[in-house]
Symmetry: D2
Subunit: 403 residues, 4 copies
């Protein structure tokens, strides 16, 4: 057991920190003012700087232009990138593109890689992942309404999806659709690549999330598929493999979220300390002299450090033993870190008082945006079931379904 960080990694972390301070944090106000789409030029300029520094797409294989980082190192970087909700985008490791890249790298045909993967890894295209449906519980991924029916050498897709992140302005979607309703539950669905220019692909609305509609990558849409036809070659990774691929995709996706939540929580703690150290509650008496605030700082520090190590251990487990072996741990960090993040944000806001509710600090934005942390990529309640099931299996009990 060795917690040492290599000098090379330290150097990367320092450079990443610097880019965050110099490039990314100032962008927050720009995006707040103009919206994501309006700030496109500034965002692309920031990405160019990052690429020039060799800090682009840490998780993507070098042959595709990334840094080929193992999870355990990516986790370290993400703690830095994650300090701003814009960080992962600027450094080329944002959801849902990161997960889609991974799917295409591992399961894409050569033709699919040429057409879909290449522009995506260069940051020239954006993609979305179209799985959750309004009329079906997201906690039950085997129960979908969207259908894809083979008609000659085309798939004809019909259905409705929502919370399709970044659909606004995306170049293509990976859609999860039932291709064989009579197969066993885990073999009913397939993944299909759908260019958003395909007739029948409908961008219905951007759904305001906790009051914010957003735009471009920073938005979440309701999307319709109406007799939407794509060639059979657009099937990703084999018919009936949708559920399996989704599991493979969501595991790393969850740990990506956990990594960046550590960054957000660290940012919130920094802001909390700064405020407590400088805000006077009486002449010459900073807020930090109040024991309640001291408690909040201490509890936040402890929660973040424990969460960080837990995430790093999960990343190391994926690297060493593979995704399957890490499944219980990924579910555990999903709800554990989301809880820590929520608690730290709440305390940071309370420390700021009314100021914490305004847009004069990034806290309010992060707080409301990340209420979803306990919901997206599987609600905490489902992840707790996954962890308990594995734990009970060690004691000889096989639990049935969570439902």
């Amino acid at each position: 057991m060795d917690f040492q960080i290599s000098d090379a990694m330290k150097d990367l972390l320092e450079r990443a920190e610097r880019h965050m301070e110099e490039t990314v944090f100032p962008l927050e106000a720009v995006v707040h003012e103009k919206g994501f789409t309006g700030a496109r030029a500034e965002l692309e300029a920031a990405r160019d700087t990052v690429k020039a520094e060799g800090l682009w797409a840490p998780q993507v294989p070098k042959e595709w232009g990334g840094m080929s980082m193992p999870f355990r190192e990516h986790a370290q970087l993400m703690r830095v990138f994650g300090k701003s909700t814009l960080g992962p985008y600027v450094f080329g490791c944002q959801a849902p593109d990161a997960g889609n890249i991974e799917l295409l790298v591992e399961h894409g045909t050569d033709a699919q890689k040429d057409r879909f993967l290449a522009p995506l890894v260069r940051g020239e295209a954006r993609s979305c992942f179209s799985m959750t449906e309004p009329e079906r519980a997201g906690s039950n991924p085997t129960w979908l309404e969207t259908r894809a029916v083979r008609d000659g050498d085309e798939w004809v897709i019909d259905g409705r999806k929502w919370f399709t992140t970044g659909a606004d302005g995306a170049d293509f979607a990976i859609v999860m659709a039932v291709t064989n309703p009579d197969a066993p539950p885990h073999q009913r669905a397939s993944m299909i690549l759908v260019p958003t220019s395909t007739p029948g692909f409908q961008h219905i609305r951007k759904i305001p999330i906790v009051g914010e509609e957003g735009s471009g990558w920073a938005s979440h849409s309701e999307v319709g598929y109406e007799s939407c036809r794509v060639p059979v070659e657009n099937l990703l990774g084999g018919e009936g493999m949708g559920f399996l691929l989704a599991q493979n995709r969501l595991g790393p996706g969850r740990i990506h979220h956990c990594m960046r939540w550590i960054g957000l929580a660290e940012r919130a703690l920094e802001l909390m300390c700064k405020r407590a150290a400088t805000r006077m509650i009486a002449p010459g008496k900073p807020l930090a002299t109040r024991q309640t605030v001291q408690n909040w700082i201490a509890e936040s520090r402890a929660g973040i450090d424990a969460a960080r190590l837990y995430v790093e251990h999960a990343a190391w487990t994926i690297d060493e033993q593979g995704l399957y072996a890490a499944r219980q741990e990924i579910s555990a960090i999903k709800f554990f870190v989301a809880d820590v993040l929520g608690a730290v944000l709440d305390k940071a806001i309370q420390t700021h008082g009314a100021l914490g509710l305004t847009e004069d600090t990034p806290l309010s934005h992060i707080w409301r945006h990340e209420r979803g942390a306990r919901i997206y990529d599987g609600p905490d309640e489902v992840h707790k079931y996954v962890v308990a099931r594995k734990e009970l299996k060690r004691h000889g009990l096989e639990l049935g379904s969570a439902r």
Copy 2:
């Protein structure tokens, strides 16, 4: 001890419930779409309906057009009105006007009542209360920067305030300003009536609260006073009495908030139950069959009922023994009920999953809007100090200042 509700009160509650369902709830979508100012016509129409029904301004003396209700009855009605953030406005008992009305009724001169109170109680004018300052901790109300200097028969006011609720479009402000910086801390400030048309009164900006700027009554502004001159007759209640009046004003103000929070929590629980009862997690299996959701419903029910009785007891104490005797209890319900509200809202959102983050239910709006509940009218931390101080006094210890 008797928890019986009179038949007359039951009738009022039923009528109020009906108005909420028929008039107020449908207004929520209108205001969401057009903004408060844009929906002015619809809001005024709703108020007219209410007035015609004799349900206007329960807490205002009959001679001023209200219902002269004691606190204990007002608390019952507010549980109903409070189910929507628009309810108190429609029924004429919204902050900050309710508190300003009370100040004017009790401390206004006849001239002040004619000019300021009369249009306010009729709902023809709106007012704001200008106390909190950006550079001074709201938790320390004796430490203000805003100054009012006597110059002949005018007060000349200079300073900056924020979180002045409803300043956008208000007809006048009651401003808290230091009139004698050399007096003992609790006698330094006074309250002054300032028409917003007065030169030097500046509406600087509406401050977005948890991402929402709002408009009209439903907004919170930063406001400046720059050599703002008003006649000496605009002094409210005596020089140096600002702190005392503020205490008298904020006590009932806090219990008003607590009353309406009970309504909001009740609404959230209703939505939670409806969702749980109808959302299927597998064919034929509603979400309500999950024990975690059952726990949430049960804990919410218990929390709300305990909170409700606590608020009603505090209201009764004010009625029977006066505000001073109820001070500890008002502070206690302030943080107790805010906690219950926050917990119930969080569970209601989680029960709704991603839907709970959208504007398709009122939950997200209420949740983010009421994050302030633990901050406004004194942060929970200060109220806990007040409660502890009183409790310790019973055991012979006099605590000093909270700072």
Copy 3:
């Protein structure tokens, strides 16, 4: 709605307080030293004092020597008696005798009343209630192993029970046994009166509860019935009515516990305040100056007051509308008040530091003794189910069994 307490009640409360201070609190050390059985003489002397004062058995009908108090008034007194775990015993309203008295008053035959009830209400006999079984989940009261088989004009009882409070030295038990295993689940069991002198009644062991074995009333035993024969006249209230009677018995039993928990919590808060006010953390600086301790005091005050009102409302509901109407509320207070008690005790101990772990204050005893509050008379988890089921029924959903 009126929270006024009558002058007569105030007088009773004052006298009860005085008896607690003068008679009961000093007994705690005696019982701690000699054990309950060893301190029998002192305890009986205390009971005599109480009887002489006319404060005996508040819940028992006057014709049987009690005070015929309604629940709402009994709740007030229990807040005082409950301050010591010995209080209810001294004042003649202790579990399980109180519940057994109620059963006998309502369902006993004249012969049963003569033989069992009369000495019990006079405090000359003690009884126990024998329901929970080691091999069956207490959360499922319809699933019992103990059998009573009719043989001529006798019942022959076989089975094993535990957590039979006060069995050590009791004169008789009311045992819950299956008399018809083929009946519908809720009609299988009956209640039977068994003198502990009956051959086949075995006192197996006193079970140490959180490390304390106790003795006499203050103990909880494992009890066996081996071919234990009693006359058929000992059937209480009709064959197959066991479950129904148990429900009727446990409802008031639960509220009795809640009432006395309020007393215990109040006592803990008093001790917390006293310690905080007098313990110095530096010369001249009492522990109460620490904000964390102030928070604990404030949160405890609020929790206790809310819990108290909630219990009083439930008591009032039983009085006015009967037990059935109060069922949801009784389940809600069961887990709500147990939580408040646990939280207050934990804070009181932490405020005392190492001293709180010793027997030099009553806190440690109360804390460990009342860990069971969340378990006995139905675990909190079952009561949450009961509350949720009722709440969901209002929204049209009928939940099935909790299991």
Copy 4:
């Protein structure tokens, strides 16, 4: 960063696990029945087995008969030893002896090592550490009443201490006494070695801790020093160095506790899972099918794993950067792990229902015994202050004293 455990370590852990199962767990019932002193023979036999296996005293230098393990490895072993409260004793790494050994190894003179250290490391003698005083807040270690006055070539010690663990039957105490009341606060006290056979050393009483008096090592005593004279050579490490040595001693002491708490929590989770998997709530339906229990298992698994990694990181930091660098982290794990332990124990008990309150599982014993975890070695409240102070220092604020 590498979480790999060496094969040698894996082998040690397996052997340690085996010894726990075969030797230590069965001892629990023996000690429960006979008391620690009564079970002395069995305990010593267990120690002999362990010594024969080469598993004795992991943290003690090899030259003194131990295993010279770095903290990071000791932490791993302690997770196993810690599963029973008896484990550390059997394996020779129990408080307070472990800390006293460390003090003597680092600061003892050769004569002191011969006389006091040698028998201690062999397990032939026991010692105690006498610091906490009844009349002084343990949270303020610079404020002591006990005095040692030099008289010729003797120290004359007067004072009273409590919570002196293992004083019953100890061979010597290390006492903390003020030797220079006029020095700066942190230089007033010194440590002195006092054989318990010294006239004037008084064993006043074993203090029952949460109801249990215990005996021998497993007890905590009140101790008096009355004109207790020891030679000046018994001074440990220099006059006025008491506070410094205490800090050095308590840092590792705290992490030792955290390590073994992980073991206790792991044990509780195992028991919880076993119970949930085998206890039926209805025919064929194990308790583990209830979602609430699943939540408890999942939350416990996550809490324990995060806590474990946090402790291991702190251990690694001590190894790599020394105690001073790890100070903030040691304070953080102290309160973080104590919280996790408390939460897991509470859930484990609730899962067992009434059985969890009995002595039929080790849970009740552990639960009540470890209520002290949040108090001993500095209450959580003080450790939060330490963590906050360090965190705020990074932001330029120097906090004053915690008092």
